[in-house]
Symmetry: C2
Subunit: 436 residues, 2 copies
Amino acid sequence: MIERTYTSEITEAMDGETVSVAGHVHELRDLGGLVFVIVRDRDGLIQGVFKEDREPELFEQAEELGAEDVVRVTGEVTESGQAPGGVELVPEELEVIDEADAPLPLEISKDVDADLSTRLDHRGVDLRQPEVMAVFTLKSKLMDAMEEWFQNEGYVDVETPLISKGGAEGGAELFPVVYYEQEAFLSQSPQLYKQILMASGFDKIYEVGTAFRAEDFATSRHVSEISMFDVELSYIEDHHDVMDVQEESLRYALRAVADEAERELDELGVDLTVPEEDFPRITFDEALDILEAQFGHFPEDPTDLDTKGERLLGQHFEEQGHPAFFVVGYPGEKFYYMQDVEGDDIASRKFDLIYKGQELSSGGQRQHDVDVMKEVMAENDVPEENFEFYLEGLSYGTPPHGGYGLGIDRLVQKVCDLDNIKEAILFPRDPTRLTP
Amino acid sequence: MIERTYTSEITEAMDGETVSVAGHVHELRDLGGLVFVIVRDRDGLIQGVFKEDREPELFEQAEELGAEDVVRVTGEVTESGQAPGGVELVPEELEVIDEADAPLPLEISKDVDADLSTRLDHRGVDLRQPEVMAVFTLKSKLMDAMEEWFQNEGYVDVETPLISKGGAEGGAELFPVVYYEQEAFLSQSPQLYKQILMASGFDKIYEVGTAFRAEDFATSRHVSEISMFDVELSYIEDHHDVMDVQEESLRYALRAVADEAERELDELGVDLTVPEEDFPRITFDEALDILEAQFGHFPEDPTDLDTKGERLLGQHFEEQGHPAFFVVGYPGEKFYYMQDVEGDDIASRKFDLIYKGQELSSGGQRQHDVDVMKEVMAENDVPEENFEFYLEGLSYGTPPHGGYGLGIDRLVQKVCDLDNIKEAILFPRDPTRLTP
């Protein structure tokens, strides 16, 4: 490896030591006889101070630099009240490793607000902005912690296929794939496979995967390719066991972000509250009551919450110190694979998690009785032959089970307070965006 | 949660305690007046002993059970020399949670060798076989350890898109997707995106992702959808830095399997050797010399190793105590994105890792000079316009970098000594298999 020290490792205590830093030229300030070269690596910035009278040859080299050139600066760490971070480098050597083209398609060091579409067109350059990169180093820490919780609890990390014959919820929002001579589609959800694995006895699983949604909408909430964190567990009493898992794992992951991503949160200007108290669990009817009483709002579809309803409920609970809460017991049931228990005090065992005013995940207890499932499929005109493998999978003894799918990008969007879900995805896909 | 104890937690020291176990009925042995009910959960088996004269009602219930019914047996832990694991349950309660259909499409408890195609047709049932499930609990542990190594080393966990405009290596093996009104393809490799992220300054990244290969071959080595572990790192001196990372991370992951997946290795009958010594790094020419001198073998394509060559070299090094080794310096260079350094002592900076006689990954130092890349693309008739986003991504200052993509399924196949790569995938996809 090329020898270097990360900017985050250089402290005032290293005063007098010689180090090498490597990174992009973030900013150049030429004050005549004095050039400040600010070098950026993944963790931060440091400035090299090139003086004409002190190091004339290096100074000349520094004057030739361009923004975003890749350089390695070797020099003596020197305390400086003026420098960002309290230290600067008095240069001894300057290597230009790779020259950048000019001009840049986007400004990086200045606070110029390019519109999102332009930023995404030049995403490779856009990602160099420290507050943009911070989203993704935070995302990495968040997801690693989330996985860690499930590993500690003995969950098996699985991978289910992305190309399949049919979808869980019909064909409208599916992307067709030309699969040799057959008709196939991209996966919208791993749910059917997760359930088969429960029947197989995998007991507790999670999957970090991709889901595809052919939704031709141009909103700040829609993308065609999303990252999902899917969970399924067996031998539950009911959906509350599933909510317990979701609640504890989310709390653990958010705690890890608060502890281990302080730099990123600072960069993003986010003051993250870890929801330490129990997440409220309200029924759908209670949700409607709150919306009516507090906000005079009535969702258009009386069997589901609308975006505005989620937002208002989010506001209501956030004011009470609860950034996250569950809504359970939706009336009716669209999906044949959800448990629907007669005489239950709630209408169904489906739940949604709402975090900072937006639905983050849906889940519930699943139907594990294949006979009931077949009845519900017939009632809803769902052709059984599309789901033969699924019905077979559950026919040979299936424990009671449930699970959920969490939208990772949406979670990151909410944690980082981003306006658009696309900002939480490295290279997002939408109806008009296939590149970069 | 339904209260229960995992079979793996029940030891002889618990003699006299009452526990509940929950799982599938793995086997029933009716000896007349005595029924052994062997219950299987994810971790193992335990037998309940139902005696007509001791517990007549429970005995009657037990006689009604069928294979793979889901049950919960509550009873007293009792030491028994005859029982597998040294303990059995004297039942106090038997709950049938879900009845299985009969007959089963595959035998589970008996050593019947169904052919692989039949097993995969009924994969949900096939996965219940302890030695089949062991592959996937081992795979989970292996991959978690692999990720852990990279997390400990400060790598950022990233996700790159699976749907894109073009592919890295041309269109022949790509699956087309109907993407709204546009032509698109499924990703064959995240390499171009990984490189853009290096240019952006992400420094060190890894991705656990999916790659799609439209290869219409029916072999034990080909599948259409594979899991990849991709790595990319910046500020390397050369490809040896990349090999160092691959070597250390693989050793770490294999050590974790040896330590934490003993039960699975036993179940699979595998004696895993962790390659503690340095992996040999031989040049392509040295590889040819060994093949000629030791085996009289000449690969058909004089610029690449064939399957037989890999196998023979694997045998050669395995005999010397090296299950893993690198081949570096392939002559010529097919790919424009590899570094090709004049006057180097090796022909190129590409390498392959061969493990137990099979190529597990390819990698190398990448070309980071866009001008050289454009020349090579022109020489090889690669149309630049397909790669505009890539060339732009690398134009604004790119550190020297390299990386590799490791085939996860192939690694698991080799670790578990499986004949066919499909056995290392939960629900494999091939030209004729789209379901389950």
